[in-house]
């Protein structure tokens, strides 16, 4: 006889010890915050940052210009100049804060929404628009600004970042790598594998998750039942949740994580708790799945307004500054608008370019055939 028959008997469970050892932490976690929604500086024992007025104005300018660029891109999509746009509206602080924590020699692996980070890296904003206009799949040289191409397949780039960081470590360099991803992406196996590889090899990489509460129509509860920053611990590295609408906190926490990486302490997960103020992309209709009042609540936490209040309250910026910035925004928007409209369609034969670095007989053959085919219409005056 076996013990099968005793299966109904319940083991004693001492809930006291059990809860400590096994229950997940589910209480609402503390956000690292350095600037309250009302624009007041808050102290935090672990993360602090002292910025000059000029530096603060710099962050403000970054956010304002990014938002303006983003709005212009949305408008360009409505006007038919772009096929699609993925707006970062509401996520400016997460992107500018983390982006400005980077050194030039650090390397960035973005999703498709990191327009603010691209701005910090010095990527010309118009370059970002090529893929959304449909003239290319990524129009910049990643090595110029250490800013990789946008990655659309959710989560893939976290492994590229990890591999790149493994290479940095092999080189003995003290650069760091940052991988951006979303709350939805946290469910992809690739992201988990990136956590595993980076932990095992102690790779100098920061996983920066912008939890904007939504993956298209799915709220974060469809991806996890505990706060995402906690994911890191089970892989053996720290996770921190930061107020993603607080540019100072995002800067401070990311800088701390990057410094850890540089010091050889391995990966960190930063969860920037923020909100996608707009639609997922211009193709999306959020009224199908979420209420306006949610958005309204987040408007009160607007990252730009927050810093503006602070700048004004502290007398760090005057009307002239804001007026000049307004003008700079207009200029940027105009430049982007004009550049996009002037973007030529690619030559059809570009289909065959860069499929291979060292060439491929079939591609050459198909190119020649297609060129001849195209030429056959020339006589007809098409």
């Amino acid at each position: 006889m076996t013990v099968e028959s005793t299966a109904a008997r319940k083991p004693r469970r001492s809930s006291k010890r059990v809860s400590a050892a096994k229950k997940p932490q589910s209480a609402e976690p503390q956000l690292v915050q350095l600037l309250s929604p009302e624009g007041e500086r808050v102290e935090h024992p672990d993360y602090d940052i002292q910025l000059s007025a000029e530096e603060l104005r710099g962050l403000y300018r970054d956010m304002v210009l990014t938002r303006r660029f983003d709005a212009e891109a949305t408008a360009l999509q409505r006007q038919g100049e772009l096929g699609l746009w993925a707006s970062l509206l509401g996520q400016e602080a997460a992107q500018i804060g983390s982006g400005r924590a980077l050194r030039d020699d650090d390397y960035v692996f973005p999703t498709y929404r990191e327009h603010g980070v691209a701005w910090c890296r010095g990527v010309d904003p118009t370059n970002l628009l090529g893929m959304f206009r449909g003239v290319n799949h990524g129009g910049w040289d990643p090595s110029v600004n250490n800013f990789h191409l946008y990655t659309i397949v959710i989560g893939s780039q976290t492994l590229h970042a990890t591999g790149y960081a493994m290479g940095v470590a092999k080189d003995g360099a003290d650069s760091a790598v940052i991988a951006y991803f979303g709350d939805g992406a946290s469910s992809q196996g690739d992201v988990a594998e990136a956590f595993t590889f980076s932990a095992v090899y102690n790779a100098p990489v920061v996983f920066f998750c912008q939890n904007n509460q939504w993956a298209i129509s799915e709220p974060t509860e469809r991806q996890t039942r505990v706060p995402l920053y906690q994911r890191a611990q089970g892989y053996g590295f720290p996770g921190v949740r930061v107020d993603g609408n607080d540019v100072l906190a995002c800067l401070a926490v990311t800088r701390w994580a990057l410094e850890r990486a540089r010091r050889g302490e391995g990966p960190t997960l930063v969860e920037a708790f923020t909100y996608r103020m707009g639609a997922h992309t211009t193709s999306d209709d959020p009224t199908k799945y979420r209420h306006d009042d949610e958005r309204a609540a987040w408007e009160a936490k607007d990252p730009i307004l927050r810093l503006r209040t602070h700048l004004e309250r502290e007398g760090h910026a005057d009307d002239a500054f804001f007026a000049a910035l307004e003008e700079e925004s207009d200029t940027l928007a105009k430049r982007v608008r004009e550049a996009v409209r002037a973007m030529p369609d690619p030559d059809p034969l570009a289909i065959f370019d860069n499929v291979y670095a060292d060439g491929h007989a079939l591609v050459d053959e198909e190119r020649a055939q297609f060129a001849a085919y195209q030429a056959s219409f020339d006589g007809e005056g098409n």
Binding site: I154, S187, A215, R222, K288, P346, A350
Partner: protein
């Protein structure tokens, strides 16, 4: 109420609704299929009417979607999983190829996996990278899977019904740029077999065979050719595994010429398999080599180039001319 004009997308929606109503074991699962009704609204309204327990928004993880669909099928459910776009099926490829396709054989027939994987595929909608691909050959090569693709609303309705009723895993490729094309759907008709080709238009000079989004282009090409006095037979293959070779053979024995058309790259594409086999079956009937029109050996290009990349009317007619030139 039985026969109505419906866009292809709506026909799929009605088909899913019908399946959910008829069989309590049918489940819908995928990213954004619930409240949003899917990014193409194919599952629109279904969660509202059948509940979150049967129309399931999943985490953003395709391997997880197919892997849990397999588990649900083992428990007796009939999951219909949606992959949001063609280019996003690859994270699930391992589960599809090593598990979904092989478990029936592995179990010596004891386990059946009636799982349908719906994939909107193909180009022509001006989308960004990964949203316009045609990976059907990558599934048809794998034994254990069935692969089909409807070209019109009626087939969309009925083939999806049949796919869901099948005890085999079916990869169901939906021609996304035809979602808005209307056609008559008779929900009380008696459909033909799922894996049979259909003669769309009869002809005597040449056979044009296609499936999914390219059937419309081929039908237009046949109409244009007819004006020039060339009578082209158009076949809608409908199924890519199995392929109805008998139907193609019958047509080619009559016409002596075959041109295959698909959006997927020609190199190692479905046209290769059909050309090879039909050439073997019809060696003495063919007056010209089987020609193939399809995508180039290059990644699907940015949207501003897709009109050039996709086989359009002109490229199909060019191949027809070349075939007739032999």
């Amino acid at each position: 109420m039985a026969a109505q004009q419906l866009p292809l997308a709506k026909a799929l929606n009605e088909s899913l609704r019908q399946a959910l109503e008829t069989d309590p074991k049918v489940l819908i699962m995928g990213e954004d299929v619930g409240k949003l009704g899917g990014v193409f609204r194919i599952t629109d309204g279904l969660q509202k009417d059948f509940g979150e327990d049967r129309v399931i928004d999943t985490p953003l993880a395709e391997s997880g979607i197919i892997g849990t669909a397999i588990g649900l099928a083992l428990r007796g459910y009939r999951p219909v999983a949606e992959i949001q776009f063609d280019g996003f099926v690859f994270p699930a490829y391992d589960q599809i190829v090593t598990q979904l396709a092989k478990m029936h054989a592995r179990s010596l027939g004891k386990v059946k996996l009636p799982v349908v994987v719906r994939i909107p595929y193909g180009g022509g909608i001006g989308a960004v990278e990964h949203h316009s691909e045609s990976p059907e050959a990558l599934f048809a090569h794998v034994a254990g899977l069935k692969v089909v693709s409807p070209s019109n609303a009626s087939d969309a309705y009925w083939m999806l019904q049949q796919a869901i009723q099948s005890d085999d895993p079916v990869i169901f490729f939906e021609p996304k740029r035809r979602y808005w094309d209307k056609g008559e759907v008779d929900t009380e008709a008696i459909p033909g077999p799922l894996h049979s080709a259909r003669v769309v238009r009869t002809g005597s000079d040449l056979t044009l065979a296609a499936y999914g989004p390219m059937v419309k282009v081929c039908t237009q090409a046949a109409a244009t050719a007819a004006e020039e006095g060339r009578f082209i037979e158009v076949l809608d293959l409908r199924s890519l595994s199995p392929i109805d070779f008998d139907a193609v053979q019958a047509s080619v024995e009559k016409t002596g010429r075959l041109v295959l058309v698909h959006e997927a790259p020609v190199f190692y594409g479905s046209g290769a398999e059909i050309a090879a086999r039909i050439t073997e079956r019809c060696f003495y009937h063919l007056e010209a080599p089987v020609l193939r029109v399809g995508g180039f050996h290059a990644p699907y290009p940015p949207a501003r180039l897709e009109e050039e990349y996709l086989p359009g009317l002109d490229r199909v007619l060019d191949a027809v001319d070349r075939s007739l030139g032999y």
